[in-house]
Amino acid sequence: MSTVTMTEQEPSTTGTPMVRADRVRKSFGRLEVLKSVDLSVEAGEVVCMIGRSGSGKSTFLRCINHLERIDGGRLWVDGEVVGYRQRGNRLHELRAKEIARRRTEIGMVFQHFNLFPHKTVLENLIEAPRLVLKEPRDVATDRAIDLLGKVGLASKAKAYPRQLSGGQQQRVAIARALCMRPKLMLFDEPTSALDPELIGEVLDVMRDLADTGMTMVVVTHEMGFARDVADRVVFFDEGRIIEDGPAAQVINDPVHERTRAFVKAVR
């Protein structure tokens, strides 16, 4: 059993942060990946998470939609405790179906796209709206076509993922996540598996998405993107967030010694 401690009451619904983490801990066996992570992301905010590989940023991102279970601390998404239901001062572990339902409100984009290779682009987009939201085919298809237009791939609806370039696949993956009309989007190193000349097109789509007011949490090594698009940048180091501030300040003028070394190395 995980040791989830009751510390305080659920935050009030007015001005609830979209994501709130309170001393989140996570271990894989003996390896403590997250030691104590505190973070708050407001609705409409774009937060980039940077740090060396193995610093825990991807693991933390995966905790937000419960792909990984936390071992300690508390984590809320839009006022709801991730993976649990609060009744009085007890936390009941959610059933798989309820976890699945909550995940529908959180879109996720993976480093390796993870498109369904046996389905066409359009089928990739409408699969979850049809199965999970029980939408009629034509409603889901209309929205899917609209989203494909927004990511610049309207002509590829009938193509299979393997017929597309990496950049195109990642744009399809973004459209697939958006097709569920999420209130929060998580990006796990979305450009790390791409050829350099394809990174720009994916970042452009993400920039457009940020302009629409979507709440986004992005694990990335793209400092330019972080500086231009993010409202805040947080720096992960050995399972903690050791620097958290406005994008320009964290990247251009970091306070912490380790942040300075990292920013210098990746630039």
Partner: protein, 311 residues
């Protein structure tokens, strides 16, 4: 014999700069081909001239009514046993991958038991079930079935071969599921699909590419394994042939009749498997060419040098 030329338009053995191209001579290939052809001719000649093959008898019995009935029984058995094998095998594979240790162990024990004993022994066990449980009640009150009447030779055959097949099939399905990229499961989770939806819509269709080829092998194997049920006196293809040759002593011709039919059905199954594989390969850049496409490719190729070049 003229050597093949570099360019079809050039005169033989000469290219534009006046040099003669001498192709490599493959003496080894020539000799081995001649040896094989010679052996083939000798064998074919003996098959045709040896009267004991009894080709006229083969011709007569190939369309015999009881042989046809036997063939139908064999096909029914194959279909029924494979249906049980595939359905139960998929269930066992999913059980083997369960997080529940009891469920996992149960599937594991099933597989080790049915894989670890000869299928012929299992067939005889099912056939003699009445000796073990004269009355079958499934542990339910009010249910009293006479085992001797319930377990006919045909049900014993279906149970024996089907349950045995499930053990092998489960390993095939399990390998297929494990071959699917774990990222597919994660993406499905993140989209809010339930585990059942993910298995049915995302994982199994992709696992099919790995599952189909060995399952095709197993189906062909099953067709031949059904010959074992002749020990239970089920009138399948082999048993029907045996009944006839016990009467007229034309043993060899009737075994040939049975073999011809087994060969015909396995050939048909092989073709079916090809198209099934092709169906589940969709989404791949290179689909395997159909026989028609292969023939076209051969005829559209003029020179050996252009093979794989322009197309």
């Amino acid at each position: 014999m003229s050597a093949p030329t570099l360019l079809p338009t050039e005169s033989e053995e000469e290219v534009s700069d006046g040099l003669t191209v001498v192709p490599q001579r493959h003496w080894g290939r020539l000799v081995s081909a001649l040896v094989i052809l010679a052996v083939g001719v000798v064998f074919a000649r003996s098959v045709v001239t040896n009267e004991r093959f009894g080709w006229d008898v083969v011709g007569t019995y190939l369309r015999d009514v009881s042989i046809a009935h036997g063939l139908v029984i064999t096909l029914e058995l194959t279909l029924a046993c494979m249906a049980i094998g595939v359905a139960l095998g998929a269930l066992l594979a999913i059980m083997r991958l369960s997080v529940n240790p009891v469920v996992r162990s149960a599937a594991y024990l099933y597989v080790s038991f049915f894989r670890g004993t000869p299928v012929l022994v299992q067939l005889l066990f099912w056939f003699n079930l009445a000796a073990l449980y004269p009355v079958i009640s499934f542990g339910l009150p009010g249910v009293e079935l006479d085992a001797n009447r319930l377990i006919t030779p045909m049900t014993a055959a279906i149970l024996g071969l089907g349950l045995n097949q499930a053990a092998y099939q489960s390993e095939i399905v399990r390998a297929g599921i494990l071959a699917v990229d774990p990222g597919q499961q994660e993406a499905s989770d993140a989209l809010g699909l339930t585990r059942l939806q993910t298995m049915r819509r995302i994982v199994l269709p992709q696992a099919m590419r790995v599952i189909i080829p060995p399952t095709g092998n197993e189906t062909i194997g099953m067709l031949k394994s059904t010959a074992l049920v002749s020990v239970l006196a089920v009138p399948d293809l082999l048993y029907s042939a045996q009944v006839i040759y016990a009467r007229n002593f034309q043993t060899i011709p009737l075994l040939i009749v049975a073999s011809v039919w087994y060969l015909v059905v396995t050939s048909v199954l092989t073709v079916g498997q090809f198209y099934l594989e092709r169906h589940y390969a969709r989404g791949n850049r290179n689909l395997p060419p159909t026989p028609l496409q292969q023939v076209r490719r051969i005829f559209s190729t003029h020179s050996r040098l252009s093979v794989g070049g322009q197309r």
